[in-house]
Symmetry: C2
Subunit: 527 residues, 2 copies
């Protein structure tokens, strides 16, 4: 029997709180003790990835307390309930089924009279068939010319995840002979966004993917009109250049304005939708459906690991609980995500949404205020770039920011250069190894300005190469991490009521139904 | 006589501390009081921009305390000392002269026997002449074909600022007939970065700008070799495709490997170098030297305003001190920068470096530990995109994150679409106005999950349009803000010792001179 309790009502909460500042990394990570930790504090992820937490402020005692927490908070049971189709999104009374897009861990999930796994698979099949027809030249523009570019029109979850995944695989696909079409993305209601994208492409050879679950997202519908105008001005029939990804009940679903429509549903939140058709259509068009299928396989394999009730064998749950320890016991307000991979340049921006929109909340799943901090601020840029930017604060600032590194032994494209006895790839990897140790152990110097206090915790996910499979596993890892943290904090991680008020007020501004300060701001901005 | 004192030794510190939670925005920003604040709490910036701080947690009393602080901390005098050429970067014993690239506020600054303003102007002139020759086809590739693309090779300050500025003006330049060449950027030591850029351009028509002040930056020299290999493989003479931006004493300065060399010096820190030749060469090539000159004019005009000792007439100082109040009195750990302008998509990443690398420090300018928090975490994405991402946490999360909005009344490209009675530009502006009010006042709802506590402070910089001038003013505003905050915290904002340890350890890894955990991590990454 699952019970949903606030974190601070659990016995494990008090035990953990008593373990504040329990591990000093400066000593723990030094010498042979450090080497031993690196060897021991590691857990396999899917697809050959490893989650290594040696440089986190944990030891046997802290891990024991986290195990107790995992058990008392019934994390494994709650995940099970989720993938078996219980109403986990209680606020909106919805199931949470993004994992079903990529596999099935539990029993059949039937909702609204439909087997949901079958439904998602059928939509993927439809997207795959469509993409193949485009690639084979069976679906073309009116002149019979093949499409060369796909443009996703969407915002938030319909943009950040798919865009990050596209960028992550772009170089890999080109180097591995499975690149099919360039992808571009239009998201912002700022008209300069759409205008700049349209100026950079040949619209007559472009296919537009309109993504809106509700079919009512203001930015997306506005940008659709913008694009339709551009197609019309180019003498083109817009309906031959557009497909829709939406829910079956949306106004877009059966419109003759689109070449085809692909469906998702209310059981997949926007920020969890990269493995649904929201990501599937654009990625299948860009790289081919078999690449998207490999990406899903990687995610499914990681989902499976996340079901392990043994905390130390469950990389997603472990990462989550170490994060909870850092947030609620150590009191750190932010977390940086630092992939040492240029292909992951927008992965932190996706995780920023995934994490902050899921767990940036002050009330529990019953709407009661919680008395502890929840989701941290998430930010990040790829390494080594970040080293020459904000790492100064990470090393010597007054606040400690926990770090999440990612590194791969091989690059994607396979071009490299040997300078001063090492390749660029080796330099990249040497830097991430060096950073972990610099953050953990620091270094005393007679000049205090050159001193490093150390004691700054980090973990690293390592892998052989960023491929469709490892990317899928990486994505699922973070989705599951956020989910487990939401369970601990007793939040509903699957709604986003915090975005509503701004929408309501913006409508009021546009209708000129304002007074006071809102009217003053509107006038300042010439509305 | 200037004296450098720790913030917590000032009388103003205690006075400010006593004003914690002094203003409740929920009431202050409601009704007519709110409208009055919007009208009153505004100060002109350069080039028609306005800094409006009505939605910050200040009132007459807090502002009075901030005025006292400005005076007691001698902010105006310290800025004066800086622009008159005193050794403000005490750790490295250097002057701090980036403002001299764009104007001269004080007396002549002579260092190393050279009038520095004349030196910077001479380099700008050299860059302008070079760019004009490229544009006129007087400097071409070996076949006599004009160059069409400029590729900046640099990292940190040689990348983030120039890249953000390029993206900020790209659409504007194209719409205003002053676009000359596409620019691309190679920064990361990850070989996939250079490989992807090279695959996307015609190297035979590309000019590469190698930017490294010391001429020894690992990433940049590695990428230079990478590019030279590519040029050689294409049968091209690399020395006809490369220019250098460096210091006169660097190994790059007199090399015959380059078509030309443009100089900066040690008195301009990397993160402050967008208005030096580090930004000047690539921006002059991309848009023409007159556009770069207009950008400098905007920055110079803002620098002038920053010299005003009257806090309420000095937007840069005021923004800085409100930030100090939020950080040290209110205790907020992070700040979000949210430009409602797609062209400013990478401006937050630049500010992240500018701010976190300058003020992410724990010792004062004499190397003594400080007993107060210094620079916050800085992050941000353009609006409205962020609204569909991390704004959930900003509205309803357990921590308060102060916000810095930016908004323009006109877009850059001039294409727009009218849907439901308003243009995209109006929707964009309506959203930022709405957000300010939603954050400040919140909204009670019977369902606590749909309630917004409010009390979340923000400011907004508004302007007519993002142009070279307003971009320059905006950049200078933040540079000056960071400088003033550094003065209050008694930091040396112009060194970055925190980046050194990682470099030293990375070299050790590459030389295989490691043991313990560092060796273990190195092996894990196959080095």
């Amino acid at each position: 029997m699952i019970s949903w309790k606030n974190f601070d009502t659990l016995a494990a909460y008090g035990k953990l709180k008593a373990l504040k500042d329990h591990v000093r990394l400066q000593e723990a990570m030094a010498g042979e003790s450090g080497a031993k930790r690196v060897a021991e504090y590691t857990v396999p992820m899917a697809e050959g990835l490893q989650y290594n937490y040696a440089a986190k402020q944990v030891d046997a005692e802290v891990l024991e307390a986290l195990k107790d927490l995992a058990q008392e908070a019934q994390l494994a049971e709650k995940y099970q309930a989720l993938y078996n189709g219980e109403v986990i999104n209680t606020g909106e009374k919805r199931l949470v089924l993004h994992q079903l897009c990529r596999g099935q861990l539990g029993g059949d999930v039937v909702a609204d009279g439909v087997n949901k796994r079958e439904f998602y698979v059928s939509q993927q099949k439809k997207a795959a068939d469509f993409a193949e027809k485009v690639h084979k030249g069976e679906i073309t523009n009116a002149k019979g010319e093949p499409f060369t570019t796909v443009v996703q029109i969407g915002i938030g979850g319909s943009d950040l995840g798919p865009r990050a995944m596209y960028l992550a695989l772009d170089g890999w696909a080109k180097a591995n002979g499975c690149f099919k079409m360039e992808a571009r993305f239009i998201s912002n209601v700022d008209p300069d966004d759409a205008a700049a994208v349209l100026k950079g492409i040949d619209v007559s050879r472009s296919l537009f993917v309109l993504v809106s679950k509700s079919g009512t997202t203001l930015e997306t519908l506005t940008n659709e009109s913008f694009v339709k105008d551009a197609l019309k001005n180019a003498g083109l029939d817009a309906s031959r250049h557009m497909v829709a990804v939406t829910s079956e009940t949306s106004p877009l679903a059966k419109s003759s304005d689109y070449l085809a429509a692909f469906f998702m549903d209310d059981y997949i939140g926007g920020r969890y939708s990269s493995s649904s058709c929201v990501g599937g259509v654009v990625l299948s068009l860009a790289f081919g459906p078999e690449i998207f299928a490999r990406f899903l396989n990687g995610a499914a394999a990681e989902d499976k690991l996340a079901a392990n009730p043994d905390l130390l064998q469950n990389p997603d749950m472990l990462d989550a609980l170490i994060g909870v320890y850092e947030r609620n016991v150590q009191g750190y307000p932010a977390t940086a995500v630092l992939p040492y991979s240029q292909a992951l340049s927008r992965f932190p921006a996706h995780l920023q949404q995934l994490d902050m929109e899921s767990n940036g909340k002050s009330v529990n799943r019953y709407g009661e205020p919680v008395n502890y901090v929840t989701g941290p601020v998430i930010f990040g840029e790829p390494g080594t770039n970040g080293q020459h930017s904000f790492y100064q604060l990470l090393h010597q600032g007054t606040d400690i920011v926990p770090l999440q590194f990612v590194g791969f032994r091989k690059n994607q494209i396979g071009m490299d250069v040997d300078i001063q006895g090492s390749t660029s790839q080796q330099k990249l990897c040497a830097n991430v190894a060096a950073q972990i140790m610099a953050f953990a152990c620091g270094k005393k110097d007679e000049n205090p300005n050159k001193s490093f206090a150390g004691g700054r915790p980090s973990s690293i996910i390592t892998g052989d190469q960023l491929t469709p499979e490892t990317l899928g596993a990486l994505l699922a890892h973070f989705e599951n991490k956020v989910m487990f943290q939401g369970f601990v904090w007793n939040l509903n991680s699957f709604d986003q009521e915090g975005v509503q008020l701004g929408k309501v007020l913006a409508k009021r501004v546009l209708a000129h139904e304002t007074d006071g300060a809102l009217k003053a701001y509107s006038e300042m901005l010439d509305i």
